[in-house]
């Protein structure tokens, strides 16, 4: 079941802008995700800013931010292509919901966390200094949350896409005053019409864009795994 659902995941370039998603459905899927997503010491040191269907101005600002990051990144290549390949960010403009994940400092710890601090345990999510050295853990937990939400969306016949190319520096987020901590992930939700894969297939390029093979990613260490794999 998990495999069949996740197999439907495609990076969407164009969502159906006429398709209305009931807000209660999004709310329900987010609640279910919150309920089942684990977090180290139960902190959930992140926040999800959900930008709804009518907030086109915010979406435009975030789209510009992504294109700007692509320009910036490609400046490290001598042949700098600039932002000519920005079709991948169109989904930000035409999605129903845009989710911006940011880090979050915990200002109201639970009783167990308070007890731990008094016992002499150091908990990074409680301070700005701690959170800045905790970004990898926060990102990992955002990955746990986002992929669970993705599964729930796909199960409900909604599509999603992730974007990781955007400016991290808060000075680039001034036009979105609610973004007060480091952004970590952009996720769009809607009813997909055209995927990146479909567009690449049309021009015969999908065969070029493959994953590293399974053997490059997974290694059974110091054991001959073929022993009991028939």
């Amino acid at each position: 079941m998990i495999f069949n659902i996740l197999q439907k995941l495609r990076h969407i370039r164009q969502y159906d802008e006429t398709y209305i998603i009931d807000k209660t459905l999004i709310n329900d899927l987010l609640y279910k995700t919150w309920k089942v997503t684990p977090s180290k010491n139960n902190f959930m040191p992140y926040k999800i800013h959900v930008i709804g269907p009518d907030n086109n101005e915010f979406k435009k600002q975030i789209y510009k931010n992504c294109v700007s990051q692509e320009d910036y990144m490609n400046s490290f290549n001598e042949k700098n292509i600039g932002n000519k390949l920005n079709d991948n960010y169109k989904n930000i403009l035409n999605c129903s919901y845009l989710l911006v994940f940011t880090s979050r400092i915990e200002t109201d710890p639970n009783p167990m966390q308070k007890m731990h601090v008094n016992q002499g345990i150091y908990l990074e999510p409680l301070s700005e200094k701690g959170i800045s050295s905790y970004l990898d853990t926060i990102s990992l937990e955002v990955g746990l949350f986002a992929n669970t939400l993705a599964m729930l969306c796909l199960e409900n016949n909604l599509d999603i896409s992730y974007t990781l190319c955007f400016r991290r520096d808060l000075s680039f987020w001034k036009k979105l005053p609610f973004i007060k901590n480091r952004p970590i992930l952009l996720m769009t939700v809607g009813k997909g019409k055209i995927s990146r894969r479909q567009e690449m297939e049309k021009i015969g390029q999908s065969v070029l864009d493959y994953k590293p093979s399974y053997d490059k990613i997974i290694e059974f260490v110091n054991e001959d795994v073929t022993k009991d794999i028939k």
Binding site: I2, I5, Y122, T137, Y214, D228
Partner: protein, 227 residues
């Protein structure tokens, strides 16, 4: 349905030594997770190092690394009087699952030396990828962690569907020299760049007890709507 499957997950303290999942099953689940996990530019800048039932020595190294990190991190608390006793006979219960699990997965950062044709073509055109360069790979630590989070969510769901339990550990020493002893059959260091996550798989006999004082922040504090 998905939430019912994932809702079965609980942090494991002890695994059943008599119930060892077959390597065939673990390998199959990893293949499925690999197949369905997305990655930016299809690079998958991480490696999953799987330690099986016979890798007791390696599990001990990982366990010690976790306990040592706990001591290190608590030294930042001025009230610190909580220190692990390395000579004590018992195990630190938070990390005992690493020693008891049939399978321990150590996720590490991976430098892509042989990217796919689409990436190569884009490099020629003038695009830049941090994941391809040893000097820039530390800049994407957060991205690597995020993608590992996506991979393990898929793997967790697949394990739950197959009545296996899992646990995550994120407290361990980051510096490479703490991992020198961990080598593969070719005697190469396994942690070439950075450890990201430890995950254990097996059949649980004991879970961490739920404590009503140890609750999550409520959803309204995590999720904000801008209509």
């Amino acid at each position: 349905m998905i939430d019912t499957i994932l809702g079965k997950r609980r942090h494991v303290r002890d695994y059943d030594a008599n119930h060892i999942p077959s390597k065939y099953l673990v390998d199959s689940l990893l293949k499925l997770a690999w197949h369905v996990t997305p990655s930016k530019n299809n690079i998958m800048p991480y490696q999953v190092n799987v330690f099986g039932p016979e890798n007791k020595k390696e599990k001990k190294i990982i366990y010690k690394n976790c306990v040592s990190q706990e001591d290190y991190i608590n030294s930042f608390n001025n009230n610190n009087y909580f220190e692990n006793d390395y000579d004590a006979p018992g195990l630190n219960p938070e990390y005992a699952n690493i020693l008891k699990a049939p399978y321990v997965l150590l996720f590490t950062t991976r430098l892509e030396k042989n990217p796919n044709k689409n990436v190569l073509r884009n490099v020629v055109k003038g695009r830049h990828y941090d994941a391809l360069n040893i000097d820039t790979i530390p800049k994407i630590n957060d991205l690597v962690s995020l993608e590992v989070g996506m991979f393990v969510t898929a793997l967790c769901g697949l394990c739950m569907e197959n009545d296996l339990d899992i646990s995550y550990t994120m407290a361990f020493r980051q510096e490479r020299h703490f991992w020198n002893e961990l080598v593969n059959k070719k005697n190469y260091e396994i942690v070439e760049h950075r450890p990201v996550l430890t995950m254990t798989i097996g059949k649980a006999t004991l879970y961490r007890t739920l404590d009503y004082d140890d609750y999550k922040p409520n959803p309204e504090r995590i999720i904000k709507y801008y209509d």
